[in-house]
Amino acid sequence: MKVLVSVKRVVDYNVRIQVKSDGSGVVTDGVKHSMNPFDEIAMEEAVRLREKGVVTEIVAVTIGGQKSEETLRTALAFGADRAVHVKEEGDIQPLTAAKALAAVFKKEEGKLFLLGKQAIDDDASQTGQMVAALLDCPQATFASKVEVEGETAKVTREIDSGLETLDIDLPAVVTVDLRLNEPRYLKLPDIMKAKKKPIDAMSFADLGITPGAGLKVTKTSPPPSRSKGVMVKTVDELVEALKSKGLV
């Protein structure tokens, strides 16, 4: 069974985001980038499914400029067998990304598409659901447990009211949440091996995608800052302060 995993290169989660003073965006040049943490979880899950004997081939996919190749190499080090790089520069919105990913999935005749539940840069949480809609196949979002049995999968989803389980036919799209697994640490030999694995490059044009009009960001601003607080000396003082604000 073939699994596709999409991986996105994003600003590392430990970077303090700086909004440009002219409001044109956030500073991304010269800033550490990493694989979107939720995509790491998706990669890890694909590898675990292969270790269980369910999956025979893992294909990592990314959409982005030249630098996204680093992210694909990370995916290959995790254990992807090969990678597809949809080489496109600039801001790519979720529906456009979803169209490209759905096209790659069809071309590859994948059985399962694993994606992070959201990317930690745009926080849209849209792409996986859109891929499922475009493929007219089942979706299970925010997965915390994935069990594949033959042509179906049982997926437990983390929703507001608790843990919901869906039974879905394959092919299907699953977006993954934090609780699904803990990604392994990459070992140097695997990182070295990843350098030799194949990456197929293609473009939107190759996939027959034309990016349409989308959301236009007219301004980027920092969130309102918190006013400087006060230091208290004792627990009594803290209790007093909280009581006076009616918080306890």
């Binding site: 930690i120 949480s125 659901q129 007219d136 608790g162 869906l166 039974d167 609780r179 960001v217």
Partner: protein, 312 residues
């Protein structure tokens, strides 16, 4: 003029409180506001939706397949209804809306707006990116339709003095059978849910072990608070993943947040900066958490936390 369709979330005969907040966001856009509900028996929920101020009409779509809210089943029906002249389709921004709205958007071939936190006009909104560390203002093409989710923490629900008309609708859409509902395991815990709790107490790596985390639970129980943890505490194995507060964990906005032994890494601060009041207890007076704390107390948490538990 805008014609707005709100997809109502409900469970067990109760309309989700978020729907009233979406109506408030819709009032910011202006125009006619309709609510559509999907289910197998909607009488009770429909009257709750009809009571929301500012709603023109409530449409109900009752059929057996709609008994549980599954995106693959609901999306084609929403598309059918939305195509009858609506300019906006809005969803509450919880997991229900996040699951469903993008599926609807893709079927309508429109880019979606996630997490509207402010409305500037019928086609311009603010939304958070980078876990709320940057707010972007977006201009959205009005044609053919705007699909969006509404960030519930940003709006106050409308009142319930209305009396909108309720209309049963039948939708002619073929529904897939590839997605089947198995069950729901409601989270049962005596402690309030981390994401909706008005008070949250969190512990960090400084706790040193999962046994030591007990003092955090005790303080939380005394306060009636939910319990969270930093990524460092989760990575160290003191508590499970689902307690993680931060950019890659849960983003929360309680009225009171008490951070115990948490240094305040950027990842963590991203998850708590909408909290009403932040209290930080840490022995390192230079910890970044003190830069955002409303009340800071420098000292050993193993003394302070039990003392605080006792004195509250």
């Amino acid at each position: 003029m805008s014609k707005i369709l709100i997809v109502g979330e409900h469970a067990e005969g109760k309309l989700n409180a978020g729907v009233g907040k979406v109506v408030a966001a819709a009032q910011g856009i202006g125009g006619d506001i309709d609510i559509v509900l999907f289910g197998d028996s909607l009488g009770e929920v429909a009257s709750q939706a009809a009571a929301l101020d500012g709603v023109a009409k409530v449409c109900t779509v009752e059929r057996a397949e709609n008994a549980k809210p599954m995106a693959a089943i609901l999306a084609p029906q929403i598309v059918e209804i939305a195509k009858a002249g609506y300019s906006h389709v809005l969803f509450p921004g919880g997991t229900f809306g996040k699951d469903l709205a993008p599926r609807v958007s893709a079927l309508l071939d429109v880019q979606q707006v996630s997490d509207i936190m402010a409305v500037h006009s019928a086609s311009s909104f603010d939304r958070p990116t980078y876990a709320g560390n940057a707010i972007v203002t977006v201009e959205v093409p009005a044609e053919p339709m705007i699909v969006a989710t509404v960030r519930l923490a940003s709006f106050t629900a409308v009142g319930t003095g209305g009396a909108a008309a309720v209309e049963a609708k039948s939708v002619d859409a073929s529904l897939p059978s590839h997605t089947r509902y198995v069950g729901l395991e409601a989270q049962r815990s005596d402690r309030p849910d981390l994401q909706s709790a008005p008070k949250v107490v969190s512990g960090g790596r400084a706790l040193g072990s999962s046994e030591n985390f007990e003092i955090i639970f005790k303080l939380a129980d005394k306060m009636g608070a939910g319990v969270g943890a930093s990524r460092a505490a989760v990575d160290s194995g003191y508590v499970p993943n689902d307690m993680q507060v931060g950019q890659t964990g849960k983003i929360i906005a309680p009225s009171l947040y008490v951070a115990c032994g948490i240094s305040g890494a950027i990842q963590h601060l991203a998850g708590i900066k909408d909290a009403g009041t932040i209290v930080a207890i840490n022995k390192d007076e230079d910890a970044p958490i003190f830069e955002v704390a409303d009340f800071g107390l420098v000292g050993d948490l193993f003394q302070i936390v039990p003392e605080l538990t006792e004195k509250l």
